[in-house]
């Protein structure tokens, strides 16, 4: 009896240690939905939820890649600029008469290529990823404006707008986010490659002595991140009927914040992609619910900032309690 209780307790506390942040986020999302739907009944209307989640799913998909990178102890501040560049490539190919599948594949391939290059510089030249991607951000941003000249891309062919489509009543971006979250969660917790990512970030020396090629591991992590940036771009570029030559300001910081609030430690070695996807959904829900309960749009960012800060402090408190 006693023994079983202890076992249960042990299981429970291990569950808390491993998935504490994910549980906090899930609880926050549920509480938020309950409270806001009491204030304004239209909030839970199916269409509204679909719009919130679908419009932000591309951030979640990019955050999956970012989480993989951060778990290996690296970071990418150029992700916003890269999404802008890839979206332009995607749209330009579509309007120049290439088949739609080419327009959709190109951002994934270019994303992998650009980030593999960054990964090679990081791994083999030993320059910290924050610095290399800072430089890359500047290059991509400048490249984007000088190529597009600030013009918007319009008149994409029929069938291009993947993100506007429904599948069994759910918008495609949300489905994509759920699919990739579950897929990557499975891969990262159950495959040798997935576990090696945690090892590289958690204790590089131990990872090296246990036979992991650190440099190759980092390059591959960057390449996989590049693939997710490409996938994110497809959702971003096909959600509206125009492709602007700009991305939302501070997009890279939004993506990094989603990963970090999702429980991915910036020191590397811990966290899951479920956390980062939940964080993306929470942010989207907070933003929308503030509008539904009638808060002035100008105060949105300040309130988001306070909430991010509270989540971070709560997470620090939880981690300290679990450790001691």
């Amino acid at each position: 009896m006693n023994n079983q209780y202890e076992n249960n307790n042990k299981f429970f506390s291990r569950f808390l240690i491993n998935y504490g942040q994910e549980l906090v986020l899930l609880a926050s999302i549920i509480i938020l939905f309950v409270v806001v739907s009491q204030v304004n009944h239209r909030f839970l209307g199916g269409n509204n939820l679909n719009t919130i989640f679908a419009g932000n799913a591309y951030i979640g998909v990019a955050a999956i890649g970012m989480s993989i990178l951060i778990i290996t102890g690296n970071i990418d501040v150029s992700v916003g600029a890269l999404i802008g560049v890839l979206a332009t490539i995607c749209g330009t190919l579509a309007v120049s008469g290439y088949p739609i599948w080419v327009a959709w594949t190109a951002p994934i391939l270019v994303g992998i290529a650009v980030n593999s290059l960054v990964g090679i510089i990081v791994a083999y030249a030993g320059i910290p990823s924050i610095v290399v991607t800072l430089g890359m951000m500047s290059i991509l941003r400048g490249g984007l404006i000088s190529v597009t000249g600030g013009d918007w891309i319009t008149d994409m062919p029929e069938g291009f707008f993947l993100a506007q489509q429904d599948f069994m009543g759910i918008r495609v971006p949300l489905l994509a986010l759920i699919f990739f979250t579950i897929l990557m969660f499975y891969i990262m917790s159950n495959t040798t490659w997935g576990r090696s990512l945690y090892a590289i970030g958690g204790n590089p020396e131990a990872a090296r002595t246990s036979g992991i090629d650190l440099k190759k591991g980092v390059v591959i992590a960057f390449a996989v991140h590049g693939m997710f940036v490409g996938l994110s771009t497809i959702l971003f570029a096909t959600q509206l009927n125009i492709i602007q030559s700009t991305v939302p300001p501070n997009l890279e910081l939004t993506v990094i914040t989603a990963s970090v609030i999702g429980g991915v430690s910036i020191m590397g070695g811990t966290g899951t992609v479920i956390g980062s996807s939940l964080a993306t959904i929470l942010f989207a829900a907070i933003g929308s619910s503030l509008i539904f309960i009638g808060v002035s749009a100008y105060w949105l960012r300040a309130i988001m900032g306070i909430l991010i800060l509270c989540t971070v402090l709560a997470d620090m408190a939880r981690r300290r309690r679990v450790v001691t």
Binding site: L134, S138, I139, I145, Y298, I308, M316
Partner: protein, 314 residues
């Protein structure tokens, strides 16, 4: 040995600056004129003030992403305190400087007291401070400052733009503090090995608090000079400033892992970025092209510098 490698990076940077100056003055006649160079100094001021203190922050192994937002918030506080609350402008300037310093101090408290990694703490306050600026101003700009106020951002003093004197003063001051004082040595010690620094009796938390508060102060001082230069206050001022400042610091050879870096390096980094921006635009390259050049210079300089350092060690 380490001193040597630091010296080497700065030498490389110095040579790059000279090369850029020579090439650009051949390419564009208007570039190498005193008037143009002094004028460029004006544009350099805001990012310089922030980057000088950012050098301290990064040397401790930290980072401050919220400086751009603090600049925006201070600018709005300045405008609102003066126009809406009716305070005299000098008092409004003091209020803005205090708010900026407090914002920096708040960063420091989150980082030292609650042990939140600096990247995350300042990422959160980046959103918070920018949000406060937007909320307070309701996205309306404030104009109509009195004539005397523009002396700071548009005036001259002994034939040299006023703000350049301020930058020169702060460059010498921060350079002196980082190199020759106990505070400066403590900054390096914290960045090199925080635990060791703590055990050797350095007031680690106090030093960090002071540095983050100084970073907030620098951002708010930059805000006041910025407002004076462009004669208006807007809530989106200083957006992206943090990345410009960090680029300059890192280009100057400061290690992003902490423990290594100099003000001289940051100074060269700042100058190189500005002459590239200006020189290339005078030489007919579109302003977007200069971003590409800055990104390339950042990566290539570090690549070359790393290669040299590796050789000297091996």
């Amino acid at each position: 040995m380490r001193m040597k490698s630091i010296f080497r990076h700065e030498t490389i940077l110095f040579l790059v600056v000279i090369a850029a100056l020579v090439i650009l003055s051949i390419q564009a006649e208007q570039f190498a004129t005193i008037d143009n160079l002094l004028n460029q100094g004006r544009f350099l001021t805001e990012v310089s003030l922030v980057a000088l203190i950012m050098t301290f922050v990064i040397v401790t192994g930290g980072i401050d992403l919220s400086v751009g937002s603090i600049l925006g918030l201070s600018a709005i506080v300045l405008g609102v305190a003066w126009k809406k609350l009716g305070l005299p402008l000098p008092l409004a300037i003091l209020v803005a400087l205090s708010v900026g310093t407090l914002a920096g101090l708040f960063n420091g408290i989150i980082i030292t007291r609650f042990k939140v990694p600096p990247l995350i703490a300042t990422l959160a306050t980046l959103a918070l401070y920018r949000g406060l600026a937007e909320g307070i101003s309701q996205a309306r700009s404030i104009r109509g400052y009195p004539e005397w106020f523009f002396v700071l951002g548009q005036g001259e003093f002994f034939g040299i733009p006023t703000q350049l004197w301020i930058v020169a003063f702060f460059t010498l001051l921060t350079g002196f503090i980082l190199t020759y004082t106990t505070w400066g040595r403590a900054t390096y010690a914290i960045g090199a090995n925080e635990t060791a620094a703590r055990f050797s009796g350095i007031a680690v938390d106090k030093t960090k608090l002071f540095i983050y508060a100084a970073s907030g102060f620098a951002a708010s001082l930059a805000a006041i000079i910025f407002v004076s230069r462009v004669s208006t206050t807007r809530s989106d001022m200083g957006m992206g400033l943090e990345l410009d400042a960090i680029t300059a610091v890192v280009l100057g050879g400061t290690s992003i892992f902490g423990g290594k870096g100099t003000i001289v390096g940051t100074f060269f980094g700042l100058i190189l970025i500005q002459i590239l921006k200006n020189g290339l635009s005078l030489a007919g390259v579109k302003s977007d092209g200069t971003y590409i050049a800055i990104g390339l210079v950042l990566i290539l300089t570090l690549l070359i510098s790393n290669l040299f350092n590796r050789n000297s060690e091996g």
